[in-house]
């Protein structure tokens, strides 16, 4: 038994490392779930004179999507968002992050605009309090404006039908 002890210890460490390696270090634990949406006061992308605040999230469930004209993966996600906007009643809020106003508008003009309202955040004033790491990133808020779900990366159609849509339907039944 004693002879095998070093090998057993080696195996235990090896297995622990093997399990740790399968975990994606980019998937950060989200500490902002169930927190109220961070306070902000930013302009609407298409209307520099319109100020937006967290008030806009009160009263209905929203899908909030962080995007930018510089973001390559956002091109991949865009058709899925267009599809959701065309077929669902969910309110879609865009956060145009670290972008140039004209470039952001142009990007949407070329591809179509799935958003009901777009928050323009060129200096991460809202992105940092939201804990945004990269784009695309999406959040779902409930009717009280509390963050209930965070999705990092591109939303695929299967993730939409399998996870996000059922959650939104459930949140819509909440008071």
């Amino acid at each position: 038994m004693k002879r095998f002890l070093p090998i057993l210890i080696f195996l235990a460490i090896g297995i622990a490392f093997a399990i740790a390696l399968t975990r994606d270090p980019r998937k950060l634990e989200s500490v902002i779930i169930d927190q109220p949406f961070p306070d902000f006061s930013l302009t609407e992308l298409n209307d520099p004179n319109a100020m937006l605040t967290p008030e806009l999230l009160k009263g209905q469930v929203s899908l909030i999507n962080v995007f930018g004209s510089w973001c390559v993966s956002c091109n991949v996600e865009h058709p899925v968002l267009m599809d959701i906007a065309g077929n669902e009643t969910i309110r879609m809020v865009g956060i145009n992050w670290r972008d140039d106003r004209a470039k952001g508008q142009d990007w949407l003009a070329k591809r179509g605009d799935p958003y009901d309202v777009i928050i323009f955040d060129p200096e991460s004033v809202l992105a940092i309090p939201l804990g945004v790491v990269g784009a695309p990133e999406s959040f779902i808020t409930d009717k009280t404006g509390r963050i209930r779900y965070k999705h990092s990366g591109v939303i695929s159609s299967s993730e939409w039908t399998g996870t996000l849509k059922p959650l939104i339907k459930r949140l819509e039944t909440e008071p």
């Binding site: 270090p25 950060l28 634990e29 989200s30 500490v31 902002i32 961070p38 670290r98 200096e123 991460s124 004033v125 992105a127 940092i128 309090p129 939201l130 804990g131 945004v132 790491v133 990269g134």
Partner: protein, 122 residues
């Protein structure tokens, strides 16, 4: 009159500049302890990533607004989790990380001495 104005400016600016410099050194120190979340093993002070630049700006703005260094770090931790701290905090899920090396060192030392003695005896 011009000299009076110059004199007044010289009188006023040093404390203001000292305060600016103080915020700057504190901002650097806080930034060095925060991880750039897009580059993983750099602090936001080291990183050229655009998000790191915005985070540095936010650190400075909060320090200027009167936050303590610890409050700024806590603010980031509330949003990005423990991951944003370059030095892992000593807490339940990191005890193994912090104390296992010492346990192994002491345990190994004890084992080495005990088996060594037995070898001598035989």
């Amino acid at each position: 009159m011009r000299y009076l104005l110059l004199f007044l400016m010289l009188m006023i600016s040093p404390p203001a500049m000292a305060q600016e410099a103080d915020i700057e050194t504190r901002a650097r120190k806080v930034s060095q302890s925060l991880r750039c979340v897009v580059c993983q093993n750099q602090s936001i002070d080291d990183s050229d990533a655009p998000l790191a630049a915005d985070m540095r700006k936010l650190v400075r703005d909060r320090l200027k607004a009167g936050d303590s260094d610890a409050e700024v770090i806590a603010y980031m931790q509330e949003r990005y989790g423990d991951y944003v701290l370059l030095k892992p905090p000593v807490q339940g899920n990191t005890y193994a990380l912090w104390f296992l090396p010492f346990v192994l060192l002491i345990g190994g030392g004890v084992w080495f001495i005990r088996t060594g003695r037995r070898g001598e005896a035989s």
